[in-house]
Assembly symmetry: C2
Homo-oligomer: 134 residues x 2
DNA sequence: TCCTTGCCTGTGTGCGGCACCCAGGTTCTA
DNA sequence: TAGAACCTGGGTGCCGCACACAGGCAAGGA
């Protein structure tokens, strides 16, 4: 049986994350009757590693909770895994596009500003650099 | 003088955003003594538009707060604007890279999984698709 | 024996930027 | 005169932790 620190090392996540997962019910420890410490079994270790891997693939903790509930009810989570990752891929592509556009706007602005002087406060504009942008 | 809704239309932001900015002190309304409604002057309208533009360039509300404090003290925020955007550009590039890598991992996984069957619960693995990933 | 060190506990807060909800008061319009 | 559309403050929720606080317990060394 592993304590918080032991599990965190075995699963390569931080102790805070272990406690967090336990708090939200993704990991369910038993307790050491002597001191109240959380005790995790091998099943919990597997789950913790699963969480790390799934998160590394873009699954949210909510997603992972769903997957666990499949597994706990004796159903294979695999079809759900395929469905979720397609969803997350689509969202991620949208984010990349959006972030890329923002980045472009930022770089364009910085470039344009190179030929513009700093303004002095005139009670009319706050910062003409920013105000020069659509 | 403009109410919340009036300002939101004039600055093209949502009424909730207006209230939010007022709550955190980025916009400071006066009050209608008759009914307690927030009243915004032209200065607030300029600020609200400035916020929308600056946010569109990736400035955070904290950044904007800093810029306002420069302007309020009679100093030009322009040098700070240039410094902040360079910082944000760097962060944004890092995010894009990171997200891109995640996306690649996700797409790779989905592709590899195409040739793998769904697993059935065996008490050993939770989902072999995810567990097949480093 | 005492002291330090390093675990552990629960609880609460903070991060960013709003969006939404509640319950109630006010103002405009038909 | 009724209903729609506005306004108020205050609270919660999102996401995934990270960090802080105050205290308890265990093992080691001087």
């Amino acid at each position: 049986m592993l304590t918080v620190n032991g599990l965190s090392k075995g699963a390569r996540i931080t102790p805070d994350a272990v406690r967090h997962y336990a708090r939200i019910g993704l990991l369910v420890p038993s307790r050491d009757p002597n001191n109240g410490y959380r005790l995790f079994d091998d099943e919990a270790l597997k789950r913790a590693r699963f969480i790390r891997r799934a998160k590394g693939l873009g699954f949210t903790l909510q997603d992972i909770r769903t997957l666990f509930s499949y597994a706990d009810n004796g159903r294979s989570p695999c079809p759900e895994v395929r469905a979720i990752i397609q969803q997350r891929i689509a969202e991620n592509r949208a984010s990349v596009t959006e972030l890329g556009e923002l980045l472009e706007r930022m770089e364009d602005a910085l470039e344009r500003w190179k030929s513009m002087p700093d303004g002095e406060p005139d009670g009319d504009e706050i910062c003409h650099l920013i105000e020069s942008v659509a």
